[in-house]
Symmetry: C2
Subunit: 371 residues, 2 copies
């Protein structure tokens, strides 16, 4: 079916669909921005959980790929990806063992830490596993989110020293990620909330340099903070993930100051089919909360049916309502803009890549599952 004219119109629903031209356009736009601003790109794969897409990002200017878990790192490393950053601390004997083993596959594997005992565990596990390649370790700094990371500047140097004292580990730098600012809509509001947070990160870099450390990477940032990350110049490496798909949450975020157009296009949709049309002014489609994530605004119906409105109607169903009595939806498909791309993708096993009415590829969301 792939490559045939009209094939994109015959997908089994509910289907996760991405527009190939818009997807590539988003990757090119970010690559151009990075080139102009001197940022290295490590796009976050928690958004797409697909090694096919990660490889495409590497072909479009990415230096490496960020992931949320050892499981995601394993899937990408087995797909041939060499530069990987795990952006959450890795905890527990089993996961640490899996992590250090992965250095044999991923040449430049990096993980973040936020406490001394985790550093020791990583070093001991590396020695036990007899790893020949060093594990890159970054100190995670909590710049305002209160989730992971050290909270004070004075904690950074001792941790960097500890990392450097273990020969299987290599101190690579700092991470400071502020998830909470990414969806602040107005640039000026986000600026107010975020610059002080980045300033803390800058002070940590300074403390490390004064203590004689080379800070190879200062990583963080997301799609929403991209403009401010470039403006502030503190990050050297950027983790934006959602830019490839966008969603309703991101559509109204002013990523760059005074932007008069979207820097990135919404490329991702979820397609459903009408399964019941017995009522007037509404139909039921096969897209509910198991096909499209509910943690955001209500999904919107895409053109040419954008005058219709959608509401969740259970795990497997949605309701599409319309005022125009001339609308005939029985037998139709309906395409929806998702509220939030990451958890929507996480509900699916496959991503259908389309170009016009042609299905160009079906990519497995191969890092879905175990978190």
């Amino acid at each position: 079916m792939i490559g045939c004219s009209g094939s994109a119109d015959r997908l089994t629903t509910p289907a996760l669909v991405v527009d190939r031209a818009l997807l590539i356009g988003n990757m090119v736009a970010l690559a151009n921005l990075a080139k102009r601003s001197g940022l290295r790109l490590w796009p976050h794969a928690k958004t797409h959980k697909s090694s096919e897409l990660a490889l495409l990002q590497l072909n479009h200017g990415a230096e490496g790929i960020s992931v949320a878990s050892v499981h995601e790192a394993e899937v990408l490393a087995h797909a041939g990806i060499r530069n990987i950053l795990i952006t959450s601390p890795v905890i527990g004997t089993d996961k640490i063992r899996r992590l250090v083993r992965l250095t044999s596959l991923a040449e430049r594997l990096n993980v973040v830490v936020d406490n001394l005992s985790n550093v020791t565990e990583l070093a001991e596990a590396s020695v036990s596993a007899g790893c020949s390649r060093r594990l890159g370790v970054l100190v995670d700094v909590d710049i305002g989110m209160g989730r992971t990371g050290v909270t004070e500047v004075h904690q950074v140097v001792p941790l960097a020293r500890a990392i450097s004292s273990f020969s299987p580990l290599e101190f690579r730098g700092l991470q400071g990620y502020s998830g909470i600012v990414q969806h602040i809509q107005a640039y000026s509001d986000r600026r107010r909330a975020y610059l002080g947070q980045l300033d803390l990160l800058g002070k940590c870099v300074q403390a490390l340099r004064e203590a004689g450390f080379q800070v190879e990477m200062v990583t963080g940032g997301g799609t929403g903070s991209l403009g401010l990350d470039i403006e502030s110049g503190i990050l050297t490496d950027h983790q934006a993930g959602s830019y490839i798909f966008m969603d309703l949450q991101y559509r109204n975020v002013e990523i760059f100051e005074g932007q008069d157009h979207q820097a990135f296009q919404n490329s991702l949709s979820v397609r459903g089919s009408v399964v019941s049309a017995n009522a007037t002014g509404r139909v039921t489609i096969d897209c509910g909360s198991k096909a499209i994530a509910i943690d955001g605004p209500i999904p919107e119906v895409k053109d040419p049916l954008s005058a219709c409105s959608y509401e969740y109607y259970g795990d497997e169903h949605g309701r599409v309502s319309f005022d125009d009595q001339e609308v005939r939806l029985a037998g139709s498909t309906v395409e929806l803009w998702p509220p939030h791309c990451d958890p929507t993708v996480n509900l699916h096993d496959h991503l259908h890549v389309v170009s016009g009415n042609v299905l160009c590829g079906i990519w497995r969301i191969d890092a879905r599952g175990v978190l």
Copy 2:
């Protein structure tokens, strides 16, 4: 690891966990109820999406298994399950083709319809596929939910006639499901909302009998309506699904009038591990909205940490807070009661069955994915 003492304490997190004794207890409790009340059980597999669990339900008094989609039916049929009911209309050439083919595997395969053109499509596809076994067809009646089904009593007989006129199809009866009443907490409130709906279903049965039809199955019902479904006596076959796991939404539902104890026990939990413990009075765990569904009350922390409270903290993380400064959670695991079992299970690929500190089995959630 399976069967070893202490193995249940060494699961990779986030993990979906079920207590074996409570799970079996719930199945036995429902089987006893069904025996006493003369209801046949077709528990809904959309809750667990696991063929292992469906087979166990058949070993504990179920007559057949209900499913939400052709995909779920295929997975269960390939696992050897013979009596299957698809509770949503099956629409579209491809899905109908897959459905009719499945009659060669599932001896007693049933689907619901709510319009004439769907009946014709099913018959034509059955003829094209040269099926030797008849497809059971039930008329879906919208008893108040406004999702699928015919809405008027007078529509039922013509549809039954149409079904009976096609030799590859066999008219089996009616479905009337009211998802919207399942979570009404007080029995009396649910009674008020639901009995009129069941009455409409009763009138449809009567119209069919008067027209000379045998109504083999009158199917519907859920865990919340079980008491009223028994009280009214209109249903012959019951689709309760959540009873095996329960959840926070169902915990406070008075399923039987004046019940002084839970008819079914909460058997399902989600386990996470502490990944960061740098703050006072709270830790971060590896359980966010990709591990535990957000469409309900906030997850609760299970004993022995039930004095702690949980909040979502992103797709991959949760925050566990506690007042007691003596609590030391670094390195710990935390177990959570899910708000809603169906979408929580849908996030995972495996169900870990435990008995005390022993892991008894890891069951694939093999019907997850394509809806």
